[in-house]
């Protein structure tokens, strides 16, 4: 079995590699920073999550009419309703708070998701999410975007791994002719105790499929994260992320607080 210290070493190496990347100005929006697991919310259940992300060190200039991200506080409300044993639909309300701008509504997204049913007995968790929505131009030059996100995850003993090779498409905005962009996310976690999992999350935007941006124009972030499994009803995630490229906010603190609510009266004989 690989010891936790090896995970730490590997992760430090990954951070070092990312730090070596060059920095170039750019824009980004950190509203929901999460690597998805393959599971879906159960039917008759509503998951309410609050994503709180603060950028201590980010972009300080207005670029292409987009507000700087430095010292922006993003609060995102995510509501996810389970449809059946293999489908859910999520809805997002994005907001931003910043000195001089106050609390602002940023946009909304809707995200249906399906997963491979348990009866398929796949060796990995597998699901497919698609997300479409609007965000105001002062927060993102591309106002209408669409994303399709395959999700693969696997739990092996104390280890958890997830990979989200997401593809994004701008429907309205400067990048409308850019085609599909590749924005992968990945997570590795280790159960130190039944309640505490620690690990790393990686987020990137490589640019257009078939013509990736140069490294210093790409968005690259790595977060040290912890998940607290205090109850099946609660989701608690906390992380600190570094973004070494100029297209990335350099330091971000994120937190997710989620609570599952079960609808209706569930009987012991259901």
């Amino acid at each position: 079995m690989v010891r936790p210290s090896l995970l730490v070493r590997a992760s430090l190496l990954a951070i070092w590699c990312v730090l070596m990347l060059a920095r170039v100005a750019g824009a980004q929006g950190n509203y929901e920073i999460q690597v998805y697991g393959a599971d879906t919310v159960a039917p008759k259940s509503l998951m309410v999550e609050l994503h709180s992300n603060y950028t201590p060190t980010g972009q300080t200039k207005v670029i292409d009419g987009v507000y700087p991200t430095n010292h922006q506080e993003h609060e995102t409300l995510e509501l996810t309703q389970g449809i059946n044993d293999w489908a859910e639909v999520g809805f997002y309300v994005f907001t931003s708070e910043q000195n001089g701008h106050g609390v602002q509504w940023v946009g909304d997204h809707i995200r249906p998701r399906v997963r491979a049913p348990d009866q398929w007995h796949l060796p990995v968790g597998l699901s497919l999410s698609t997300e479409i929505g609007y965000q105001r131009a002062v927060y993102s030059p591309d106002t209408w975007t669409w994303e399709i996100r395959p999700i693969v995850d696997k739990t092996m003993g104390r280890w958890y791994m997830a990979f989200n090779p997401a593809l994004e498409r701008t429907l309205h905005g400067p990048d409308v002719n850019q085609g599909l962009g590749f924005s992968p996310g990945a997570k590795v976690g280790y159960d130190f105790t039944p309640k505490i999992n620690c690990g790393f999350e990686y987020y990137a935007d490589y640019g257009r499929l078939g013509g990736f941006d140069s490294l210093h124009e790409q968005q690259q972030q790595i977060f040290a994260v912890t998940d607290l499994n205090v109850s099946p009803k609660w989701e608690i995630n906390f992380g600190v992320g570094l973004g070494p490229t100029a297209a990335t906010d350099h330091l971000i603190v994120k937190g997710i607080l989620g609570r599952r609510f079960d609808w209706g009266k569930k009987s012991v004989v259901d």
Binding site: K154, T155, G157, R158, V269, D270
Partner: protein, 455 residues
């Protein structure tokens, strides 16, 4: 593979030669056995859309019903036509460890292609069963997951000693199929199943139980599920429970439903006085919809089978026991304290199960003196209920679910609820190594076993 599994595997293999050598072709030809079992590959058709490649006894699931009379010696011959070593455990019988059917006690495994032959004396009276007692690990098609099980009924020498009179007997075996591991609320992986059956068939796909109005039907229900507790009701009817695990209860009671932990049996009389077609099935909707049910059809009845959905799960061992206040001069028992818990091994793994902080084969081997009475005080500190089974003995349930002292409730499996303490007593009257374990296949595979030894 862990060293523990390797050690158990070593135990299996070391017994193979002895097991295979028990019978020669000449011996086999000499006389036909009273009980002949052949273990061979089999495809179970739970419904036309649900087929499972597995192993079966004598080409059927459940295996055959063996009916025998108490004390009358039987010749048993078992041929292993599978590709893996096998062993047959005679659950609830007082047999010597050499043939009881657990390699932890010393029963030799039967090598692939091998045959064993031995004699056994059936005892005690009542509804028993037989099943495989091998290791499955992460393969949820093997061992008890595969459904190798059959019924045994040991009749008393004097028919008047039967617990109740009846017109017809029906044997029902409950089982779950298509298992796979999934995360559970307690944080570890547990088996979940695609299909649940009665007598190997999903509801609507098996032969109905055919009855006549006015009959008293003795239902012998066995839960052979590898891991699951089941709740069973018969719409339009009630069960008069007369025996648990084959042993007559001191207080027969009429109940709306039965609860059976893995390996438990209930013998209950049903008075057929509601003509029609009815569903006997799992009370919980999601399990009945996975197939666990059977149609009970009155002679001449028309129409679709009817199910009446109960709204509660109701069962209490205490209903069937006498109050057991300590009698003056009653024989003292020696207490053996056993604490059950588990060791977390990650959300992607099953827990490691422990008795007094140790997992088999490192668990303690308490010494028993023949003729002495022992009380096992089982403190379940885990989040799961555990069906605890003592081999080769019958025990008396003395306390369960916070009850006062009980008396007369004799069983060989007791479901010890999560975060509770149960107490059972038995007389050490069958010398030899005696296995004690949780009957959940995944739990015993993960160390939830110990052996008592006689000194």
């Amino acid at each position: 593979m862990t060293s523990r599994i390797t050690r158990r595997r070593f135990g299996q293999l070391s017994g193979l030669a002895a097991g295979a050598a028990l019978v020669s072709p000449a011996m086999r030809a000499a006389t036909a056995p009273d009980i002949a079992l052949e273990i061979a590959p089999y495809t179970l058709e739970a419904s036309p859309k649900h087929r499972f490649k597995t192993l079966a006894y004598n080409g059927q699931v459940p295996g055959p019903l063996f009916r025998m009379r108490q004390g009358q010696e039987q010749t048993v011959e078992i041929r292993n036509g599978s590709s893996e070593p096998e062993v047959v455990h005679w659950h609830g019988l007082f047999l010597p460890p050499e043939i009881d059917g657990a390699m932890e006690e010393g029963t030799p495994m039967i090598a692939p292609g091998g045959t064993v032959r031995y004699r056994m004396t059936p005892d005690p009276v009542g509804f028993r069963w037989f099943h495989t007692h091998t290791f499955a690990g992460k393969d949820l098609t093997k061992a008890q997951y595969g459904g190798l099980h059959g019924f045994v009924l040991i009749d008393p020498l004097d028919p008047r000693d039967a617990p109740a009179a009846y017109d017809r007997e029906v044997f029902i075996g409950l089982h779950d199929w298509g298992g796979h591991f999934a995360g559970s609320d307690d944080g570890a992986m547990s088996p979940v199943y695609d299909v649940s059956t009665m007598n190997g068939k999903m509801l609507g796909f098996g032969e109905p139980v055919r009855v006549k109005q006015g009959e008293r039907v003795m239902m012998h229900v066995l839960n052979s599920s590898p891991t699951e507790v089941h709740w069973i009701a018969l719409a339009g009817h009630r069960f008069q429970v007369v025996a648990l695990d084959g042993n007559a209860v001191p207080r027969p009671q009429t109940v709306e439903m039965l609860r059976l932990g893995p390996a438990e049996r209930v013998s209950a009389l049903v008075e057929m006085k509601a003509p029609g077609n009815w569903v006997m099935g799992e009370v919980r909707k999601h399990i009945q919809s996975a197939g666990m049910g059977i149609v009970v059809e009155y002679a001449g009845a028309m129409g679709s089978p009817v199910w009446t959905q109960p709204q509660q799960l109701v069962w209490d061992y205490r209903l069937f026991a006498e109050a057991g206040e300590k009698q003056a001069g009653a024989r003292e028992s020696t207490r053996i304290e056993l604490t059950f818990d588990s060791k977390f091994e990650g959300h992607g793994s099953e827990e490691r199960w422990r008795i007094n902080g140790k997992s088999y084969p490192d668990t303690e081997e308490p010494a028993l003196k023949a003729g002495e009475r022992y009380r096992l005080v089982m403190k379940n500190e885990s989040m799961d209920d555990h069906p605890m089974h003592l081999h080769r003995h019958t025990f008396e349930v003395r306390r369960v679910d916070g009850s006062p002292e009980l008396e007369g409730l004799r069983k060989d499996v007791v479901l010890v609820a999560a975060k509770s303490t149960a107490e059972i007593e038995f007389v050490a009257d069958h010398p030899g190594r005696t296995l004690f374990h949780c009957h959940q296949q995944d739990h015993m595979d993960r160390g939830f076993m110990m052996v008592f030894r006689y000194v």
